[in-house]
Amino acid sequence: MEPELAIGLPAAGSVCVAALRARPRAAIAAGALLGLVGLAVIAVSVPGRPSSQLGVTLSLSTESRSLLIAAAVALALVVALAPFLVERATLLMWGLAGLAGMAVIAAATSIEMIIMAVLALAVMQAASAGRRSFATRIRGPVLAVALLALAAAAARSEGPSILSRLAAVGLVAGLSAALGTLPYIHQFDPDERTATSPIPWMAFLGPVLALAVLTRARDLIPSEGGAVGAMVIGLGLLNMVWGSVASWRTENGAAAWHYSFMADWGLALCGFGLAIADGERAALLVLYGMLLSRLPLYLWSRQSLREKRPNDRPINLLAAAMLAGSAPFAGFAARVLLLRAATQLYWPLAMVIGLGLLLWLPPSLRLGRSLGLPRGRQAWGVGIALAINLVIGLYPQPFLSLAGL
């Protein structure tokens, strides 16, 4: 029953918030209550135990559960400490809807259910009022849906080995298209609301989706593990370089954040592609960092970006260090694990990754400054995000144990 509740409670919360929008306090209270109960259900659920209460077999894996918890905590953080100009009820509504979708993706045992969840989430997000047209916003996720569906079909058919290789291509490309990483970058409008921008795909839904797709890929095409790994690593390296350089050099501050998520995905993809425990650990730490720190910091930087008020206070420098993956933050531990994994597999890859890691610093300084001078709730938020990242960086073991790693 737990997976169903993990899906249903956030979904009900989102509906409640939408229904009570005229009374924001009641909406937030109802949504928060249902969301927190949903989080509790996810936290106490037994990983791997299947449930078929709705006629569909659902089961949460340990890793998915840990990412769902991280996403829920991130949502709580950004809603509780949202800047004054941000409508918290709207943020909560979208966040809970996303969480419900993520729970479906995490608990689904077939790739088709994952694909349909992606489709439903894409339509919901693209249908809401935004600055880009509906067709533009839906493009990336639709490509993902089509590629994943074709890949699943190819994987399930008998035929020459090229079929399974094409399935591998489809799964990897589909995942990349859903996330919005290079070469399938979703069009980004710096002035668009975060909820309707490509950021949720990358920074909120993406971690669970990537884990689910790559796990299914292992089941669907077990013989193509090497090809999948090679492609994921290749795309990872590409995104590392492109994301960090573009984040550093692009003119717009919000676009710089968008590219920085891409760079982080590069690291995570490399970790997943290595397909050994250390690589997965590294990827997971990167994703924790993305959910619990980078995403909240992005949201809190929006106002300062609009007002063009960069700052060089200690908090900005600490944020820059955190975003750059400097010790003692989580990024450093992730990088150590990634280097270890790459060394186990093929040491020149570790060298390439190691050199790529240095590209994080210039954009991170820029992003750290773009936070401006956080005050009030934002200052608390930045402090909490830094503290969480610091704890993960210094002692990642409990967080990895939560994911069964």
Binding site: L119, S133, A146, L147, A149, A153, R156, S157, L163
Partner: protein, 180 residues
């Protein structure tokens, strides 16, 4: 019968690719829905799945007929590339599902692959929301049909979910920025 259904699925998808008006889009979706329902019933031997497809697709067709320009809009001027896409996509799907893929069930595969491919292409290239939403509804149904290619039957669940998505997608009214 399954061959005819598979061909109809492709035909419906091709009509969606070639149409801009709500009547044309609804016609294409209706043909595809019928074809998928037949395939789910005959190949998948799952009446519940077939009913779900029929209901969801039917609802999507009705909802599609209620919004958008009240014209057929089939093959408007400049639609030659779309025609080429429809035919080439169909032929490619046919080749893959019959020659490249060697296990039984080519009809189902052809239907699923051709509709997924064409609807994906339609959604990627269209700018008008009605066409995109129709393509998405058909895409959802095609994904569910593709699930039928699994060795172990997927059961009715994917079809029910796909039907809900198809109907839900068609119920949405898009407000474009700047009135676009």
């Amino acid at each position: 019968m399954t061959e005819a259904a598979a061909f109809a699925a492709w035909l419906g998808a091709a009509v969606i690719v070639l149409s801009d008006g709500r009547r044309g889009l609804a016609l294409g979706l209706a043909v595809t829905t019928l074809a998928f329902a037949v395939l789910a019933w005959v190949v998948g031997r799952d009446a519940l799945a077939a009913a779900a497809v029929l209901l969801g697709g039917g609802a999507a067709v009705i909802l599609r007929l209620r919004a958008g320009a009240d014209v057929w809009g089939v093959m408007p001027p400049g639609s030659t590339p779309r025609l080429v896409l429809s035919i080439a996509g169909g032929l490619l799907a046919l080749w893959i599902s019959t020659t490249l893929m060697t296990d039984p069930g080519a009809q189902l595969r052809f239907a699923a692959l051709s509709v997924v491919g064409l609807m994906g292409a339609r959604a990627l290239t269209a700018t008008e929301s009605g066409a995109v939403l129709t393509a998405l509804a058909a895409l959802a149904l095609a994904v569910a049909v593709a699930a039928g290619m699994a060795d172990t039957g997927p059961g009715p669940a994917p079809f029910v979910v796909a039907a809900l998505i198809a109907a839900g997608v068609s119920a949405i009214r898009i407000i474009e920025p700047n009135g676009a």
